[in-house]
Symmetry: C2
Subunit: 220 residues, 2 copies
DNA sequence: TTATTCATGTGAAATGCTTCACAAGAAATT
DNA sequence: AATTTCTTGTGAAGCATTTCACATGAATAA
């Protein structure tokens, strides 16, 4: 169960996030009919330096051609592979409230290989109802159904007060990663990956910027 | 129109994001009945080092008492002031689709001082309809109504293909900051702040972590 | 009152990330 | 075929962030 990376350099969070950005932009470049793209062009679109783009890629190999740049289709495939989005991820959403049900229809997820295949809620009025072809299950069966269906990732959009219970359940069911929208710091065992999505954080950054007349180098 | 910070140190994005985290945790500590909190306790809850917490705060002043820690209520107020969330921000949401309408009911926003007061869409079936007491306006009147109502921040949840037009309109109307959910790199003049919210990015990070057996220092 | 404990605030050191600058290699041009 | 142009890949330098370590000062206990 060792790393897939031949040389175990520690890749920074920023690098991974930029790979996501490159992937998205490469899809666009492909649509626009580009066959190749230089680090300069890619950097311009992301408001980065060309060196940054090349360095990010260099952690994983050499994908370009000197004097020419990168083959758009090839680089996109390669980054998809690195990010692990070149396959079908089985995802469940727990908590079919406002945000939860919005995520069911969020196209970007399926576009990147994340397929929502299970929905859970504790509200009797919601259980059994149909969202985009998926029937909402009773949260009582959470652990059992997650395990049976081999769900690998879970998105949590329940109130903060109950989020930890959901986590404990899905961890027992064997999920590998959790994306948490609830405003609370959750505990997971070390073999499970956890990320928090906090949408007000970005608004708070904007608020700070306005109030302090902030001029960051990198208003990404 | 100069900065509010007496000494114009450049504050990093990470520091601002951590202040948001501290703010939220301080609210919780307050509910739990804590009167004071140490950098050690705060760090433990955020999975950071105590030195990190103290250094973050030190950029803005000295708010603690040696031997005792920080007064919870006082520190929360101070951070709120730094972030500029100690006031009422007028926000509009443009694009009342799945995500847009979910955000209208998102409690964390109002809890941090962000009040959604205007909704816009181009769909005749949505225009005039009521969401949480707010009537959806026709996007044709975007610039005029934003300016008249003195909206300062805008959240964009329209399709990528039309997002730039919305931006151009609201920039003319005088908004100061934009939070963009559309999967596209938008252009804004330098006096307008822009942040992008990309929800699949975090799933992609999780995907990368699983596939590469990644062990980052800081799985925040 | 004095001693002890505790926890802040902060220069300095350590670590991490980004940018520079250039050798090397591929394509295009003459 | 030789030359020029272009752009990658990458050590090294530069810059930024985090952590260390300790002097300082407040509160508590003796």
């Amino acid at each position: 169960m060792s790393s897939e990376l031949p040389d175990k350099k520690r890749i920074s969070e920023s690098t991974i996030h930029r790979l996501s950005m490159y992937f998205r932009t490469l899809s666009l470049l492909q649509k626009e009919g580009y066959e190749t793209v230089s680090s300069k062009e890619l950097a311009k679109r992301e408001k980065l330096t060309p060196a940054q783009v090349r360095k990010d890629l260099s952690f994983f190999g050499s994908f370009g051609t000197r004097g020419l740049g990168y083959d758009v289709v090839e680089l996109k495939a390669k980054i998809g592979e690195i990010l692990g989005i070149d396959r079908h991820w089985k995802v469940a959403v727990i908590g079919i409230g406002n945000i939860g049900s919005a995520l069911v229809s969020y196209k970007e997820f399926s576009r990147q290989g994340f397929h929502i295949e299970k929905l859970f809620d504790n509200d009797q009025r919601k259980i059994g109802s149909n969202h985009k072809g998926i029937v909402v299950s009773d949260i009582k069966n959470l652990e059992k159904e997650i395990a049976e269906d081999g769900i690998e990732m879970v998105i949590i959009t329940v109130p903060a007060t109950v989020a930890q219970y959901m986590v404990d359940d899905v961890v027992r069911a064997g999920v590998k990663a959790i994306l948490n929208f609830a405003p609370i710091n959750l505990k997971v065992p070390s073999h499970v990956y956890l990320r928090n999505e906090n949408m007000s954080m970005e608004l708070e950054y904007l608020s700070f910027a306005i109030v302090n007349n902030h001029t960051p180098k990198n208003m990404k």
